[in-house]
Symmetry: C2
Subunit: 159 residues, 2 copies
């Protein structure tokens, strides 16, 4: 064996997978993306520091908040020395992500309010209905048409 067995200071990819609940293939993927790093044994197998477990946890949490991997990557990369976040770092990152989360919630709540208003009305005019036109959820998924364009005065409204 490579490092002494009873010393679990390092994790194999399988162990990291089990303990994090993230598939091995996903861990490989994260590593390709530069989100986590590993040492290689003489036999070319990955060994992760225990801190990687925390790093993976952080990644998954950020994902749940809705942060794309690229941005998580940027955030982690911005830490001095590429270190895995410590308490202070975590506070910083989490404050930022909490703000993002708050904003996301607010947008959805606004949407819900408009929606509730509109249910009674049945108005689906793109011109008039606040629902159809406003507070665009920018980029919920990839590239796509975000613009919602001006329109004439005579359009269908209120079914």
């Amino acid at each position: 064996m490579d490092t002494v067995a009873w010393n679990k200071s390092e994790l194999t990819v399988g162990e990291l997978s089990q303990r994090s609940g993230v598939a091995v293939s996903a861990l490989h993927f994260y590593e390709r993306q530069g989100l986590i790093t590993s040492r290689r044994t003489s036999g070319n197998q990955r060994r992760y520091r225990r801190a990687t477990l925390r790093r993976v946890a952080l990644i998954r949490i950020a994902q749940r908040v809705g942060i794309p991997l690229a941005e998580i990557n940027r955030a982690l990369a911005s830490l001095p020395d590429g270190r895995t976040p410590n308490q202070k770092d975590w506070e910083q990152l989490s404050q930022q992500w909490r703000r993002d989360l708050d904003a996301r919630i607010q947008r959805l709540q606004q949407l819900r309010d408009d929606f509730t208003d509109c249910i009674g009305c049945g108005c689906l005019s793109l011109a008039r209905c606040r629902l159809a036109n406003m507070h665009d959820e920018l980029g919920e998924h990839g590239p796509g048409p975000r613009r919602l364009i001006e329109q004439g005065p005579n359009d269908t409204c209120c079914v």
Copy 2:
């Protein structure tokens, strides 16, 4: 011309695009998916009924709420005769979607609360932290590992 010009009872795809703010390519796509339908002129060009404008509006709104196209399609298809939703239909659909929206908001709020709790703690243990383990946002994007697995007692916690 195909139908008399001053009679704008039908829309070309370009017109529908302009008035709905949805790209022509997207409208074609929706049509391929069966979300909207068109008549064809003698020259094989699409002509949409004005009601399609409302239908597209509805589709975009549902998308903003977070409903995938496939499900929007199912909902619309469930209407008798494949008709474009009228007031009553809209009420039904929108009630359903509002419930979905509410649920989405609640999940995010729960996440935020956990998040707020955790910020002070800095705990990123996958085993103990409610953040890392609970109320999984099922399927925010496609296929992927959703399971978050049990783990031993001795893991890193609280940085």
